[in-house]
């Protein structure tokens, strides 16, 4: 039994949750008495539960590894989707909704999911109409322009 066979997504999720509780509880120790009361009241039991759950998950992973079950691993398709979520985040963050929105929709259709050029172009145009036409102009909601665009426009 190797460490790698136990350290899968399932165990990592439990570990991340435990670390969140542990670090938030430790940070709470630096607050004033009143401010730390509730965070500690929740954080300490959360940490204890985190240890129990991590143990449960490790135990289950050992069993799964022994039976050759790989369902706890992260698949290639999932990695690709994480990539797209990050791409949407960074694209919008840098270039805003009006510019990045249609471009991201177009890229997702074509590069990500192999749709036809026609579908990609119609989707991008539709996105532009909704974001720029509807939100920005009809509703007069000022949308985020993107950090790079804001920097370029001064």
């Amino acid at each position: 039994m190797t460490i790698n066979s136990i350290l899968n997504g399932r165990v990592a999720t439990a570990l991340v949750m435990l670390l969140i509780f542990l670090s938030m509880s430790l940070l709470a120790l630096g607050f004033t008495e009143k401010a730390r009361l509730m965070p500690l009241l929740i954080g300490i039991p959360g940490t204890v539960l985190g240890i129990i759950e991590l143990f449960n998950e490790m135990r289950a992973s050992v069993k799964a590894a022994a039976s050759g079950d790989t369902s706890n691993d992260v698949s290639e398709a999932e990695r690709a989707m994480f990539g797209w979520v990050i791409a949407f985040f960074l694209g919008i963050l840098c270039f805003g909704f009006i510019y990045a929105g249609p471009l991201l929709v177009f890229s997702f259709m074509l590069a990500g999911k192999k749709e036809s050029l026609k579908v990609g172009l119609i989707s991008a145009a539709g996105t532009f109409i909704v974001v720029y036409g509807f939100f920005q102009n009809v509703m007069e909601i000022p949308l985020f322009e993107g950090l790079v665009i804001e920097w370029l426009l001064g």
């Binding site: 997504g9 929740i42 289950a60 949407f88």
Partner: protein
């Protein structure tokens, strides 16, 4: 009734209802923005017409909000998040039409019962509203938190951890007592706390899109064989509301009651009612997997709480929710002065008009939605490839618009990635929202109650009633564990 039945007022209702549903259906817009945007248009109207227009619009926002919750797992408004838990699995099971029908039917019935609740309570309202002190607030929030156990499915440890995680995230803000920064790391946008819309979109919408993209297909999966997206499915859903009439009435009343208490809000109403539905069901294991009762309960509460929250808004000028706060301002602009004076006989006309307007708007919304629902249901069969980029964009847009801050998108992405792993490895996600919503209420009222009465606040009559309810809930859960096969994972001997 004569005034509201005039063609002019009915015409206004017919315009206000679709506008309200539209604002509810688009994530990030919501009823508050809707009211703000239409205020300039109603400003020139007479007070009665303007107020009727606004209340009709506001009262059906959550009816529209249920559509993206059920079809895509993206809540149109915060309180609609609870509808995702069973609405989305119903869509995946090919029952989008039924889920939409149940949501619309429940919203309509909830709205009408909320209005009737308001009518019934008019003579008694003052002592009831004033009976709620910080002590009862704290225990009511604690009662809501105990429902986490009910929503934990077969893993109590995971459920508690996710609920506690929501509570911890709720503490990210300036400490309400001392004003010192807690977990904000110097970020100004966190001073008011983590935005609920961004958190809910992150925990629910992003994981659904990742899962859909990774698995391929459509939101309804391979369920075309049993699909019920036509009018038949919608009508079946509406029928479900009346088949579960006991639950419908109970959750409508609970929602209206919670709406009446300023500060608790619609999010709390829908989650508490969802928890109640799971708790009172004979087959709680169906919840989270597409139980129609899981759609009915939050949807009745969402709309009935508007009736309840009109009470303190109109008669004490204390808004029952943030939406009502904006509505209150709009009423004042229209020349209606909320406060105890509204209860005088000569001012009661406007109160009656608003109550009838609220109920009629809810009925009208159901009728309008029945027409369009089958078409909406088909959306769940659109290929994921075509949906994902739009829903992702809308999700980011919703997170940004919630507080007009790009930093909210950071929160959305971080929680979205974590939310996916929670989904994949079967960590129940609803407890997160309960913790996030009730955490600040519990903390704030706890400190207030302690300052006012010390630990003796637990001995107040109202507090004792609430403690009784909490003990009953926990006792019921323990009884169920012992007597039922629904043992949590950590209690099972042959754990996987």
């Amino acid at each position: 009734m004569t005034i509201i039945g005039s063609p002019y007022h009915l015409f206004l209702l017919a315009i206000a209802v679709p506008i309200g549903m539209f604002f509810g259906a688009i994530p990030g817009l919501g009823g508050k923005l809707g009211i703000v945007l239409v205020i300039p248009f109603v400003f020139g109207m007479d007070a009665v017409a303007g107020a009727l227009f606004l209340i009709a619009m506001h009262s059906v926002v959550h009816t529209g909000g249920s559509v993206p919750s059920i079809l895509f797992g993206v809540p149109g408004t915060g309180p609609d998040a609870a509808t995702i838990v069973d609405g989305l699995p119903m869509t995946r099971n090919g029952e989008a039409g039924r889920a939409l029908g149940a949501a619309f039917g429940a919203s309509g019935v909830g709205g009408v019962i909320g209005g009737l609740f308001l009518l019934a309570l008019l003579p008694l309202l003052q002592p009831i509203v004033l009976a709620f002190s910080p002590a009862e607030f704290f225990l009511l929030a604690l009662f809501g938190i105990t429902l986490i156990a009910m929503l934990s499915g077969d893993s109590l440890v995971k459920g508690l951890m996710v609920g506690f995680f929501g509570l911890m995230i709720a503490f990210v803000k300036l400490d309400p007592q001392t004003g010192i920064e807690r977990y904000t790391f110097g970020q100004l946008f966190l001073w008011d706390g983590v935005n609920i819309i961004a958190a809910v979109l992150g925990i629910f919408a992003i994981p659904e899109m990742i899962a859909l993209g990774a698995s391929g297909g459509s939101m309804a999966g391979d369920s075309k064989i049993n699909a019920s997206y036509g009018l038949k499915g919608v009508l079946r859903g509406i029928g479900d509301v009346f088949r579960h009439w006991g639950l419908t009435i109970r959750t409508s009343l609970i929602g209206a009651f919670i709406g009446m208490i300023p500060g608790l809000g619609g999010d709390a109403a829908s989650w508490i009612c969802y928890g109640h539905a799971a708790q009172s069901s004979k087959t709680p294991e169906r919840f989270g997997k597409g139980a129609v009762e899981g759609v009915i309960a939050p949807e009745t509460a969402n709309n009935s709480k508007e009736g309840g929250s009109l009470l303190p808004t109109l008669f004490f000028a204390v808004p029952g929710s943030s939406g009502m706060a904006i509505l209150l301002g709009a009423f004042v602009m229209l020349g209606i002065q909320p406060g105890p004076a509204l209860a005088l006989p000569e001012n009661m006309d406007i109160v009656w008009i608003l109550i009838w307007g609220l109920m009629l708007a809810n009925v009208l919304a159901v009728l309008m939605f029945i027409v369009v629902a089958p078409g909406l249901g088909y959306l769940s069969y659109v290929r994921g490839n075509l949906l994902i980029p739009f829903v992702l964009l809308l999700t980011f847009l919703g997170a940004f618009l919630a507080i007009r801050s790009w930093e909210n998108m950071v929160v959305l992405t971080a929680l979205g990635v974590l939310g996916y792993f929670l989904k994949k490895y079967h960590w129940p996600r609803p407890p997160f929202v309960i913790g996030l919503i009730l955490g600040p209420i519990a903390e704030d009222s706890f400190h207030k109650a302690m300052s006012l009465w010390g630990p003796a606040f637990l001995l107040r009559p109202g507090a004792l009633v609430m403690i009784g309810l909490i003990v009953l809930t926990i006792g019921f859960y323990v009884y169920r564990l012992v007597s039922h096969k629904e043992k949590p994972e950590w209690l099972r001997e042959d754990d996987d």
